[in-house]
């Protein structure tokens, strides 16, 4: 077996991943680029995984071609201001904010939607910006922690977190606050949580402490400031209702 064909067989294993057997045929040029693409992926994965010796060397030019970013031109509207950007399509909305727009208030805690530190508002809804590709956010109204206050006047939720010391290290805080801002809006719209079902309050759930806890559970605080966070949200909710 020649090195190249051996590589191909490794690659074919990769290629079958998540593909159904009756995959439609494709134009030859796409096939070619796909082969190249798959090749790289295949032997890399195998090598990293097992430390197997490499069986074929990609040409330098080829390596460059398959690793060259696909760039997209887009406009992001953040905190009311539109910014034109040229971004690698792989760029998460979080990285676009932090690395390209210098809006570092949104935090990267896990980069996998597992901690909530990157929570921002897109069209008023709380989302994890780390799992949102920046290209998908074009046309949306994006609000980050930097856009909540009106000048020197804090958003009531910010003020409540400040007053109740709803943090320690502060790294999860922007995400907690954005999440809480959305929570209050969601509650205004009479949304449910699992707690609503447990308590049987599925018609008009009151924002009890247990409801707040459940609804804030997408934001991990490793410092353990949860009781103060709940107090801050509870207090802010009273302001919203008043």
């Amino acid at each position: 077996m020649s090195p190249a064909s051996c590589t191909d067989s490794l690659l074919d294993l990769e290629e079958s991943l998540n593909e159904t057997p009756d995959h439609p045929s494709t134009p030859a040029e796409i096939e070619l680029s796909r082969r190249t693409f798959i090749k790289t992926t295949g032997f890399l994965t195998a090598a990293v995984a097992t430390g197997l010796p490499h069986l074929a060397d990609a040409q330098d030019g080829q390596t460059l071609a398959i690793t060259t970013p696909q760039m997209a031109q887009l406009t992001l509207k953040v905190n009311g201001t539109s910014k034109a950007l040229t971004l690698d399509t792989r760029t998460s909305l979080l990285d676009a904010l932090r690395e390209h727009l210098q809006l570092t208030g949104s935090k990267k805690g896990c980069d996998h939607g597992q901690c909530g530190a990157c929570t921002i508002l897109v069209d008023g809804r709380r989302i994890n910006s780390c799992l949102t590709l920046a290209v998908t956010a074009e046309g949306a109204e994006i609000t980050t922690i930097e856009g909540l206050a009106k000048g020197d006047e804090l958003h009531p939720v910010q003020a409540s977190f400040l007053e109740h010391d709803g943090f320690q290290c502060g790294y999860c805080t922007p995400g907690q606050i954005c999440s809480a801002v959305a929570l209050l809006q969601e509650h205004k719209h009479n949304t449910l949580s699992t707690v609503s079902f447990e308590t049987g309050s599925t018609a008009h759930p009151e924002l009890t402490d247990n409801e707040i806890r459940e609804r804030m559970s997408g934001n991990i605080c490793r410092c353990g400031a949860y009781p103060n966070i709940v107090a801050a949200v509870r207090h802010a909710a009273k302001g919203v209702r008043a």
Binding site: L13, N18, F37, Q70, R90, H112, N190, F197, T202
Partner: protein, 335 residues
């Protein structure tokens, strides 16, 4: 993550056409696909964004309800028709993930969620038949507390073994509700019953569903509501929220007096697909809603379960949870 092209489709036809490029994949909320791309498990050449194709409606026609594949999980859970007629689905959706993720995740994307098996998600483990067919299964001899007890493939065939579980809560409720999945592709439209939508690993654990790679989920159809008054989604997990199920139970009852007219039962966290048990459901028809009847159903539901080194507890846990979920369902939905 490998470089990829991004394309925003504005119609289903455009989307289906665009996905014919090899290596192309549909992108919904991205909560699972983008995640797996970051872990280098998925490496699409092109992402076809299908969140702008107009599948974001929920419509009730006659007795059935059609949920567009692009409806976000949080919107689905809170929609009046779902809350009123299919509270089991609302409860299941709200048991999953976090508010942020539910705001992103779509109905179609949720159906396509891949397993959370540690060995699948970390490409540094060389053995994973789901990720790299024929490479083996590191979970079988590894730490398998979260893995399947039902329907797993394996035996002595090392190159096809897989004890992964499906992580979706929504799909478990859909299985208990007997939903169907509407899809469209180059060869036209078809409807797939939820129980046939996800696959058992069999000889091809790398394939999660019976959806063809050029087919697009357009909607989920919910049949006439039967369990609106008596249902419960019980999720048993390692923390109170924001964790995958060790075992979950979607239980629905249609009760006349104290007699069960029909029942819906599916389990999560125990198999490669939502584990729907017709035997258990049938056993309840005509029975009195009682813990005896629920226990019988529970035994039937987990019949044939095969424990692994670290997950034997799931068998008894599933049984206790089934009884509990049916008991709560029988008590009725409070308003």
């Amino acid at each position: 993550m490998n470089p990829f092209q991004y394309q925003r489709a504005t119609s289903p036809d455009e989307a289906v056409h665009a996905v014919s490029v090899r290596g192309a994949k549909f992108l919904g909320g991205g909560t699972n696909l983008v995640d797996l791309m970051k872990y280098n498990v998925e490496h699409p050449s092109t992402l076809i964004d299908v969140t702008h194709v107009g599948f974001d409606q929920i419509a009730t026609t006659g007795t059935t309800t059609i949920v567009g594949a692009g409806v976000r999980n949080s919107d689905l859970a809170n929609h009046e028709a779902i809350r009123t007629n299919y509270p089991l689905l609302s409860q299941a959706l709200l048991s999953g993930a976090s508010p942020q993720l539910r705001n992103m995740a779509t109905t179609g994307g949720n159906l396509m969620q891949r397993t959370r098996c540690y060995y699948f998600m970390d490409t540094a483990f060389p053995a994973c038949n789901k990720r790299t067919p024929g490479s083996g299964c590191a979970a079988i001899k590894g730490f398998n507390r979260i893995h399947a007890i039902l329907g797993a493939s394996g035996g002595s065939e090392g190159h096809t073994e897989c004890i992964a579980t499906n992580p979706s809560d929504m799909s478990v409720a859909l299985a208990a509700l007997n939903a169907t999945i509407h899809v469209t592709g180059p060869k036209g439209k078809r409807i797939i019953p939820i129980t046939d939508f996800h696959r058992l690993p069999g000889d091809t654990p790398n394939i999660d569903t019976n959806l063809k790679s050029d087919e697009l989920i357009t909607a989920v159809e919910l049949p006439a509501p039967k369990f609106a008054k008596h249902s419960y989604y019980l999720k048993v997990r390692d923390r109170q929220s924001y964790a995958f199920a060790l075992v979950s139970v979607a239980a629905g009852l249609e009760i006349n007096g104290n007699t069960i007219r029909s029942a819906g039962l599916a389990l999560g966290g125990v198999a490669h697909k939502p584990w729907h048990s017709s035997d258990a459901e049938k056993s309840l028809i005509g029975a009195t809603a009682s813990s005896d009847a629920f226990r019988r159903a529970a035994d039937l539901a987990v019949a044939g379960a095969v424990p692994r080194e670290h997950n034997a507890f799931k068998i008894e846990l599933a049984k206790q949870s089934i009884v509990r979920a049916f008991t709560l369902a029988a008590q009725g939905v409070q308003a």
